[in-house]
Amino acid sequence: MQSKFSNSAARITRLGRRGCDLMEALGRAGVFLFQSAIGLPSREGWRLWLHQMHFVGVLSIAIVLVSGLFIGMVLALQGYTILVDFGAEQALGQMVALSLLRELAPVVAALLFAGRAGSALTAEIGLMKATEQLTSMEMIGVDPLRRVVAPRLWAGFVSLPILTVGFSVVGIWGGYLVGVEWLGVFEGSYWSNMQANVTFINDIGNGMIKSAVFALVVTWIAVFQGYDLVPTSEGISRATTRTVVYSSLAVLGLDFVLTAIMFGGL
């Protein structure tokens, strides 16, 4: 009896401790974001940022564009088979463009970015931590948050919206290829329907806001996981997995919240 009681008491204690750990980690991540984001850009910082733009942005172009092309093509194919039943296949352009701009481009680009760039950021910073590079930087008198973390954070924040634009453009072109060139939707109605129904502020603007939010969250999770990990090879592999899992969940969850605010009339 007594052991049962002490068992459940221990369970409650564990739960409480886990809650405290979670709060503590969130607080640490917040302070971490604040400390690394406020650094004033210097000439050196500019160079480091450029280097990271190459690493997280330019090197992610291929995967993002190829995925965008296929998703646009699939959207057109699927949309056509449904719309043609209602004789409304001229609305294909509008459907492809709106799905891409509002939802698919920000979300899918962010998920791909988490897998391609986020995990690489975590592993890279984690490796620097495991090989004591961060500690030695600190001992030389250079703040690793400014030198290592800040350029990566800003590069991610700038890159993902650009990649999202690319995703949309290529996706709309893919939809055009399938819809117009292959399935024979009239070219004029593909574009004019799109132009009549897509608004710059509401659709493109909101999509960009979503993308910027996702960029911040994904990069933040990635660099924080790298900075906060247990500096062993096992720790690095776990943190890399955590980056992808947490970023994906955060992106999808936030997408719902943002959509509800932007388009749900909240």
């Binding site: 490796l127 004591e132 030389i140």
Partner: protein, 274 residues
């Protein structure tokens, strides 16, 4: 030059989770000498260096470097103090995205506004001192462990610090690079009038360069003195470590229940439900 000790550690307590690492450590590290801190693995020697460098904060007690309490300094003052320190890490900790030359130049570029030609001269001078002037264009990945440590040493002395902390400089080195490192540490200390703190458990090499030794075990200083006095110390804990005996106060066996009982499979009745 004053005779006041460079580093004073007073009544230091530190623990990680439930594990107490230091329980009241007192040390004084003299200026311009090589002081070695020795002890079995897992006694927190690296932790001690991190405490001295201000990367960790003790629970109680204080550490004075040249009269300044490391853990009461502002972040800015701490970084200023760190410019006067160099640290050689166990793995070398060279920045993997920079080549050898840029690694050594890193502290100079960050902390000084010297023109490029002067940076070049200084870096080549430091690399010459460790014998790796010819390796300046290699990346850290292309260096052997011993070479990486020598580059790291050149980087640590790039700003001509007053204090160098060596974290396990001899671990995993072949006899030749071990000899090179011993020579380098000795020479640098004499040439630059440095204060050196060497953390190690390689007895022979450490004894050969140290002016003074501290032996820590179980979170406390168990013995200190010159190499000669420690060699003659009769305390069993000291002599076991200095002479490398396999069994003694530090037991060969990890704590376990009696061997017979374990092997006969008797359930240790007293353990359940307690």
């Amino acid at each position: 030059m004053t005779d006041a000790p460079f580093i004073e550690i007073e009544d230091l307590y530190f623990s990680r989770g439930d594990h107490e690492i230091f329980r009241g450590v007192n040390m004084t590290i003299p200026r311009g000498k090589v002081t070695a801190i020795m002890g079995p693995s897992g006694t927190g020697k690296t932790t001690l260096l991190k405490l001295i460098g201000g990367q960790l904060t003790p629970e109680s007690g204080r550490i004075l470097i040249d009269g300044q309490d490391v853990h009461k300094l502002s972040r800015k003052a701490l970084f200023t103090l760190r410019k006067r320190m160099g640290m050689l890490f166990q793995s070398g900790a060279l920045f993997s995205d920079l080549d050898v030359f840029e690694n050594v130049a890193f502290p100079l570029r960050v902390h000084t506004d010297l023109p490029d030609t002067m940076v070049r001269d200084l870096v080549l001078l430091k690399l010459q001192a460790v014998g790796l002037r010819g390796a300046r264009h290699l990346t850290p990945a292309e260096l052997s462990g011993g070479m990486a440590r020598r580059v790291a040493l050149a980087r640590a002395v790039a700003l001509d610090p007053e204090l160098i902390l060596y974290d396990e400089p001899f671990v995993g080195q072949d006899p030749i690079s071990m000899g090179v490192l011993v020579q380098l540490i000795k020479r640098l200390n004499q040439a630059l009038q440095l204060t050196s703190v060497v953390v190690s458990h390689d007895i022979k090499e450490t004894l050969s360069i140290a002016d003074y030794l501290y032996l820590i075990a179980d979170g406390q200083v168990v013995a200190h003195g010159t190499p000669q006095t420690l060699d003659a110390n009769q305390d069993p804990r000291v002599s076991q470590f200095i002479h490398g005996e396999p069994d003694g106060p530090v037991p060969f066996h990890y704590p376990a229940e009696a061997f017979y009982r374990d092997i006969l499979g008797e359930a240790p009745a007293t353990q359940i439900g307690s």
